[in-house]
Amino acid sequence: MSEVKIVNARGLACPQPVVLAKQAIETNEQVKVIVDDETALENVKRLGSKQGCDVQVEKKNDGTYEINLTRKAGTNEESVALCGEASAASGPFVLVISADTMGRGNDELGYVLIRAFLHTVCLQKEKPDVMIFYNTGVKLTVQGSEVLEDLKQLESEGVQLLVCGTCLNYFEIKDKLAAGTVSNMYDIVETMNRAGRLIVP
């Protein structure tokens, strides 16, 4: 019970530290994750609180951080129910970004809203499992997009971003894709079909 599982995530690229930490905390009461960059530090800390853990960080002299995750008694079930996989029985939480605007009517306003929306999605404890981008929505995923940082952050936290290939092709921006993976109508329909919850802002 009191044994501490050590996860050495030094030098690993972005999703890896979180993935390893997540696997470890799911099967251990106490996990010590060692990382050497701040993005990983923040992501693992966020994972810890998302999983209902007590999170303690120690900065070491060699520039690494030791993040101690301890499961809080009694919060386990509740917190697990918050995250995506636990509700997998009813299917993934899917967010559909069907345009580079939010709502219909005024595009200038819609573009303000979609940026505010994605910023706020990043701050939510419960993140979508999958985000699907199509039509002008794909423009948000390419170089120069003003929401790229938000999308990359979501991706680093394990959110899968599916970007419609036909759409990238139509706008001739396939070579500029900077977040997510090129997807197709089969994956998009299949993901929508098995969604437990599907939100289109």
Binding site: E38, L41, E42, V57, E108, L109, V112, R115, A116, H119, T120, L123, E146
Partner: protein, 79 residues
């Protein structure tokens, strides 16, 4: 925790002011991010500009006499 950049937000009277300010800041290459007004400041569905405090003087100078700024507030944590 300490490593996280602390941000400030700039509030405006109306969305149109935010858009005008954003255009100017983009043109001047001054880093900023358009975000919803944090809940602890106002529960209206407002929009504001977030920036790093080190940039405040430059941003204010760029907007001087062009866009009226309503308020500048420090952001605690997150957002």
């Amino acid at each position: 925790m300490n490593e996280k950049p602390q941000y400030s937000v700039m509030l405006f009277k109306a969305v149109s002011y935010v858009l005008k300010a954003e255009k100017i800041l983009k043109k001047e290459g001054l880093p900023h991010k358009l975000i919803p007004v944090p809940k602890h400041i106002s529960s209206d569905c407002g929009i504001c500009l977030r920036f790093e405090p080190a940039m405040q003087n430059k941003i204010e100078a760029a907007l001087l006499n062009k866009v009226e700024i309503e308020d500048i507030r420090a952001l605690k944590d997150q957002a």
